[in-house]
């Protein structure tokens, strides 16, 4: 098994960790992105297992990327609506 399979699992765990531990909403959004990237890496790793590479997981990852971009856009809009004043001023630090 290639190095990418454990790597994908590490990304998933990192994403889950960030989602639960980080307080800042932007960090939560990033954690969600890391989580789905872990899922995508897992799919691409699966595709590479067969020769020639399986095209179906690529189609899934492409669709998944579109979905993730859309969810991120919704998340950022929601964060901006919730914190109209301090959304620019606090940078990457926690606003709690």
């Amino acid at each position: 098994m290639s190095i990418y399979f454990p790597l994908a699992m590490i990304l998933v765990v990192l994403g889950l960790h960030g989602l639960f531990v980080c307080a800042h909403p932007l960090r939560k959004v990033l954690a969600l992105n890391v989580l789905s990237t872990g899922g995508f890496l897992l799919l691409v790793t699966t595709a590479a297992q067969s020769t020639p590479p399986d095209p179906v997981p690529h189609a899934m990852v492409l669709t998944g990327i579109v979905v993730t971009v859309s969810t991120t856009a919704v998340a950022l809009t929601l964060v901006a609506r919730r914190h109209p004043r301090n959304s620019n001023s606090t940078g990457g630090r926690s606003v709690s």
Partner: protein, 481 residues
């Protein structure tokens, strides 16, 4: 009677086209939604009838079969849930459109209708799809539309929408990783092909666990229900009705579709008893919390947690050979009658809030001629939920009870009976002011159409129980047909 090929495609394309048109021309929103409601109710009303004594319908999109293409499958459970979505969303459409026409009702946002139709299209796609990844996309679309609809209420609803968003995205993320693991094992996304290929091994178990964890979170099954009450309680009334009546049922539908389909062979080594225990805990904990709520809408929201616990009992009961058919039929009828009754409760509560200006239980005054219809709808829907014969709620719980009796599962039997008592207790607490207190002749009169929308859904919840023969031949005797 066969279902025309085109009909399932219309179920998704009509609301989707409506959503796009309604976004381009905001003023067209209400007529587009009403047209969609009408066509959806006609088509989905025909589907369950056409499936009695018939094979399940299979539809390969674009003529591409699996594993490359995506298959849609229309079975009895999908047909019933499509009907549920059409009735609940249709009733809520009527409520919202009438509320917008009423002069003294402030409309929060124009984006409601596009998002609403978008939610409808995604729900229908979710019910029809038989492809694990297609379902992931549909789940995301349902969640995003839901987040948008909750957030439209502004203020405290924004925080609720944010929490809802995080819970939904965590659920989808887990689901996606689980699907990737399953695909890695079997090289197919089609549910039937997966079912044929599935073997019991650790990677499959991990994938099934991740998928189930994600879906349990989305279906708000105890103890993963904590996001539900604020999201469902703070959203506007039609949105609460759709979320509590259909959207949680959609995630639960998927869970049963997987565990009674592809994952069925995992049930022997897996967790049916654990699912059952979660269900019992949900019935009791959700019921107790509903009993101690101070606001009417929150009480209704917590009752969703409790009622979905009943549906969870399908897993341990379906794992027994004696009670399997009644358990599955009971679960489908439970989702249908609960969805209709829950939507009726939210719409009735909305009328009561409009009339009294608040929904604090300790300050509600008695029913007067302005709110009598709303309280009637509330009482009818509540009676179905408690399980008074011959309502739909009675039929659902009777079948579940019958299944548990056939399989001699005493723990589940006592949970079903205890849950009924709890449901009666918290609903009586909500109804008490209407009956016992004297009415105040104050307050605004909500338009008649609002009350009628609530009343029609409550009556629909009873109608389910009036056709037990049809329900039985659709859901229980299908195997022999």
């Amino acid at each position: 009677m066969n279902v025309p090929e085109l009909w399932p495609a219309l179920l998704v394309s009509i609301p989707l086209a409506g959503a796009v048109l309604g976004f381009v021309r905001m003023s067209l929103g209400p007529p587009l939604a009403q047209f969609t409601a009408l066509t959806m109710i006609v088509i989905t009303g025909f589907l369950p009838v056409s499936l009695i004594g018939q094979e399940n319908q299979q539809h390969s999109l674009g003529g591409w079969g699996p594993p490359l293409g995506i298959d849609w499958r229309l079975d009895a459970m999908a047909a019933v849930l499509l009907l549920l979505a059409a009735l609940v969303m249709g009733g809520a459409t009527l409520y919202r459109a009438a509320a917008e026409r009423a002069v003294d009702f402030k409309v929060e946002h124009d984006l409601f209708w596009p998002l609403w139709l978008f939610l409808w299209a995604s729900l229908n796609a979710l019910f029809l799809s038989a492809d694990l990844f297609n379902v992931y996309v549909a789940l995301e679309l349902v969640s995003l539309a839901g987040v948008g609809l909750i957030a439209l209420n502004g203020g405290t609803a924004l925080a609720a929408a944010w929490r809802y968003f995080l819970a939904m995205m965590l659920g989808s993320g887990l689901y996606l990783v689980g699907v990737a693991l399953i695909y890695g094992q079997y090289g197919t996304l089609d549910m039937i092909q997966t079912a044929d290929a599935l073997t019991v091994q650790s990677t499959t178990m991990t994938g099934a666990a991740l998928i189930s964890g994600g879906l349990l979170l989305k279906a708000a099954i105890f103890p993963l229900h904590i996001w539900l009450p604020s999201a469902h309680g703070r959203a506007s009334v039609p949105v609460s009705a759709a979320l509590s009546g259909v959207v949680v049922a959609a995630s639960f539908y998927l869970l049963t579709r997987l565990w009674l389909g592809p994952f069925e062979s995992l049930l022997e080594v897996g967790p049916p008893q654990l699912f059952g225990v979660l269900g019992v805990a949900a019935i009791i904990w959700g019921g107790l919390l509903a009993l101690f709520q101070r606001r009417l809408k929150m009480l209704i929201a917590y009752s969703t947690v409790s009622q979905l616990g009943y549906a969870m009992l399908v897993f341990p009961l379906a794992a027994t050979t004696a009670g399997s058919a009644h358990a599955q039929g009971g679960m489908v009828i439970l989702l249908l009658s609960h969805g209709l009754a829950k939507a009726a409760l939210f719409l009735a509560a909305g009328c009561i809030v409009l009339q009294q200006g608040h929904d604090r239980l300790d300050r509600l005054s008695g029913a007067n001629r302005y709110s009598a219809l709303a309280w009637l709808a509330f009482a009818l829907a509540g009676a179905s939920m408690v399980g008074i014969p011959p309502s739909g709620g009675f039929l659902a719980k009777w079948w579940l009870l019958q299944s548990a009796l056939l399989a001699e599962q005493w723990l589940w039997i006592s949970a079903i009976i205890l849950g009924g008592a709890l449901t009666a207790a918290y609903l009586f607490r909500a109804l008490e002011p209407a009956v016992t207190l004297t009415a105040k002749e104050t307050g605004k009169t909500p338009p008649l159409a609002l009350n009628l929308a609530a009343l029609m859904l409550a009556v629909a919840a009873w109608m389910v129980g009036l056709v037990p023969g049809a329900a039985e031949s659709l859901l229980i005797n299908r195997g022999e047909a």
